[in-house]
Every structure is written in C-alpha cells, then in structure tokens.
C-alpha cells in the first residue's frame, strides 16, 4: 500500500483490491482496516472461512494466498491485491467430486463437528503442495498450528497421510503412459 493509492471518502481511506478467488476474478473497494476474513465472509460469501479466535492462533480462518497458508483474520485486505486466494470452497471439482484431501478426511474420520475442518483442509493443501510426501513429524508440525476441539489429532494426522496417498495415486493416474 502506498499513501497515494487509497481514496479518501468521509475520512475513511478505501483501497481498490483485485485478486483471484478460487480461480475467478474479484474486485472490491475496502477500508484500510478490513481483514481478509471480513472480505471473504461478508463480501464474497465464503462462509467456509471460519471466524474463531481472530488472533492468528486457532487456524479456523486459514486460506491460501499465493499457495501459502495465512490467517485471514489477521491479514489486511489491502495486502491481497494482485494475489491468488483459495478457500475450502475451491477444493472440490465443478461436478462435486471431492479433492484428495476432502476424500481422505471423510475416509479417516478426520472431523467430528467440522468447525476446524476447512482450516485443516487448507493447511493440508498447502503442505502437500510443498511436500507431496511429508513424514509424520512434518505433518504434526503443520497441523499443530490449527486447533481442533473434538476430533483428536491422531485421526487428522492419518487423514493427511491418506490425502498424500490419494493425491499421489491421482497424479500417477493422470501421468502420460
């Protein structure tokens, strides 16, 4: 952000923010203090982005910005100008086929109430993009950044391992002979 870029309206600066959301272009005008969480939930109807601690601690609001997991609650909207943003709504295919991560969490019982699940799925997505075959220690490190109050981390850990297997198998299927 530069001081030249915002527009002043009734003492509130607004910023034009253009970004790609789950593959589609978005254009909004936001006050400086708007967070990505506010923007995604209130203006883009992405309710899969949960609001909980609103302090970067619990991970319920995790979205991917240019492939990296960030806390939407603690990122200003002006900072995602020009970025590629992904939420849990973008994981399944157009025809409803679940992604490898979603399929794995379903198979392994990686959720109970589901409140933390969208954040867990996005953390898993980022991890598998960086390392398609993470070991237990690395998975533990990544999922420990998100709070789950009811499932127990063992089943989530198994879900991430299974997601890696499913994603690997999918890639092999798609590889040219």
């Amino acid at each position: 952000m530069s001081l030249e870029s915002p527009e002043s309206s009734q003492e509130t600066f607004t910023h034009k923010v253009e970004f790609e959301l789950n593959g589609s272009p978005e254009r909004h005008s936001v006050p400086t203090s708007t967070t990505v969480l506010d923007l995604l939930r209130n203006s883009c109807s992405k309710q899969g982005v949960r609001a909980s601690c609103e302090r970067s601690v619990c991970g319920a609001c995790t979205v991917l910005v240019d492939d990296l997991p960030v806390a939407a609650c603690s990122t200003f909207a002006f900072d995602i100008d020009g970025a590629r943003v992904e939420t849990v709504e973008g994981l399944a295919a157009q025809d409803g086929t679940l992604s490898a991560q979603q399929q794995a969490f379903r198979e392994c019982g990686g959720f109970q109430c589901g409140f933390c699940t969208s954040g867990m799925l996005m953390v898993t997505t980022a991890l598998l993009r960086q390392n398609p075959q993470p070991d237990r220690e690395e998975i533990r490190d990544w999922i420990s950044s998100n709070t789950c109050r009811c499932t127990g981390y063992e089943m989530i850990l198994e879900s991430v391992e299974r997601a890696a297997e499913l994603a690997g198998a999918k890639q092999q299927d798609q590889a040219p002979e």
Binding site: M1, L3, T35, R55, S56, L68, P69, A71, A126, D141
Partner: protein
C-alpha cells in the same frame, strides 16, 4: 522513506500479524505505511564477514536462507523453531523486533549475537538489538536490516525448551586481543530479555568450564527478572542449567554456529 519523514507519527505495516492484534488492543493510527512491496527489504547477504538480513525476511525465509545456513546455521535452526506455520510465512524479522513484546524471541536470539538494527527515514541510523528495551529512542523510521558480525563468532546456540518460563541464547566470541567472551541472553514471557556476559582467559572453547560459566552468568540476573511464572531464585537456577547445557554443546563441538 520520504513518507516516514513526512509522517513521523505513521505506523509501519509489514506482515501485520502483530499489528492486527495491536488494532484489537486499541491502536488507531492516522497513517499506516505498508512496506510489504519494497523488495530490497527482503534481501539477505553475507559479505566481508557481515551477515545482513533485510527486515522483511519472513521467519520461513530466514530459517531456509543459504546465506544464513552457511554462516550461522544455528541461527537458521533457532529462527525456524519459533511460531506456527502460518506465522512463519507471514511474520517478519522487523515485525518481531519492533513489536517490542517481551515474549517474542528474535530480540533474545539476536541480542546474544550482538546484532545491530539499521534504520532509514527517521532520526537514527543504527541501534543494537539489545537496546530495544531502553527508553523510546523517538522516531526510528523504517528498520531496513539487521547486521551480524561473524568473523569473531565461535559458537551460537538457542534453548527454548523451557519457554515461556525462560529462554536462553548464547554465543562464544573470540576477543580482539585475547580470551573469549560468552554472552547469554535470558528471555521470558513477562520480563524484558537480560544480557549476561563473562570474559574468560581461555584460548579455545574446550577450555571453558560449562558449570562454572553457567553459574557466573546466571548469578548476574537482576532481581527484577523474577516474574509471575517463576521467582528470581528459580529463574537463576533455570538459566544456570540452560547455559550449562548450551556450553556443554559448545565445548563438545567447536564448529562455528553448529546446531544446538
């Protein structure tokens, strides 16, 4: 930099991971200057024995930097051990230091390394990281980088296993004339980090006695280092143990900046 001179009251925004918390705590700045897109602030270099780390380097980048891994690998390891995955990608070195929160770890890690903060756009050009807790130095402008002298550095290690009670970072440096200086910095959740130092006549790290030096360093902790989570007696004991543990590593392995 012209903007910070024009608006000395402006709040600088980097990764904003702490700033959003400050907003929630009541901060209402008139002017916010985001430095996110200044690419130069992301550079890391190591020339003529001076390691220079840009203030916008994130925790993830710092812990993987080839320049840091080749010059002070234990700094990369210590840096990579802090926070959570989201914060490691978003939080920056500058934000960790200039948030000036006792519980943040880079001030502890970098004070022991004798690091200097370089500023532009304010009234001050440079300050040691260890001076972060001195009375407010006024308009510092933008922190551009942190620099660390590496030629005299023999060993560095960081202990955070007892966090938030006590953390300790420790360096052994060769003195210009003779002898070695051991510097330990003790951090905790509720008190500013304290710098402890001991000069020994030794010519090699292996000559240092970990138990003796650990005790000498811990005894320097002032009474105000005691806090809600531990009395001063307990803290001195704990810091003594952690210093001894680090020094045992140091004396057993003399490789510069080796893994703690």
């Amino acid at each position: 930099m012209a903007l910070t001179r024009q608006h000395p009251e402006a709040v600088i925004a980097a990764g904003c991971s702490d700033l959003v918390a400050q907003f929630r705590e009541g901060l209402e700045p008139e002017v916010l200057i985001s430095i996110q897109r200044i690419r130069e602030l992301r550079a890391i270099s190591n020339e003529d024995g001076l390691l220079r780390i840009g203030s916008l380097v994130s925790h993830a980048e710092g812990s993987r930097s080839p320049e840091i891994l080749s010059s002070v690998p234990a700094l990369a390891a210590a840096w990579g051990s802090i926070a959570t995955v989201r914060i490691r990608y978003r939080g920056t070195l500058g934000g960790n230091l200039l948030a000036r929160r006792y519980r943040y770890e880079m001030p502890v890690i970098l004070s022991a390394l004798g690091a200097q903060m370089q500023f532009q756009g304010g009234d001050i050009a440079a300050l040691p990281v260890s001076s972060l807790w001195d009375p407010d130095p006024g308009n510092v402008g933008i922190l551009t980088a942190v620099t660390i002298d590496t030629p005299s550095l023999l060993w560095f290690g960081y202990e955070r296993s007892m966090r938030p009670l006590s953390t300790v970072s420790l360096t052994v440096r060769k003195n210009p004339q003779a002898g070695l200086t051991v510097t330990a910095v003790c951090g905790s959740e509720y008190r500013q980090p304290f710098v402890l130092s001991h000069t020994a006549e030794a010519t090699a790290i292996t000559e240092l006695d970990p138990a003796f030096v650990g005790e000498v360093l811990a005894a320097q902790l002032p009474d105000e280092a005691g806090d809600y989570s531990g009395s001063i007696d307990y803290r001195r004991h704990l810091v003594g143990v952690l210093c001894r543990r680090l020094l045992a590593e140091a004396t057993g392995n003399q490789r510069k900046g080796s893994q703690p």
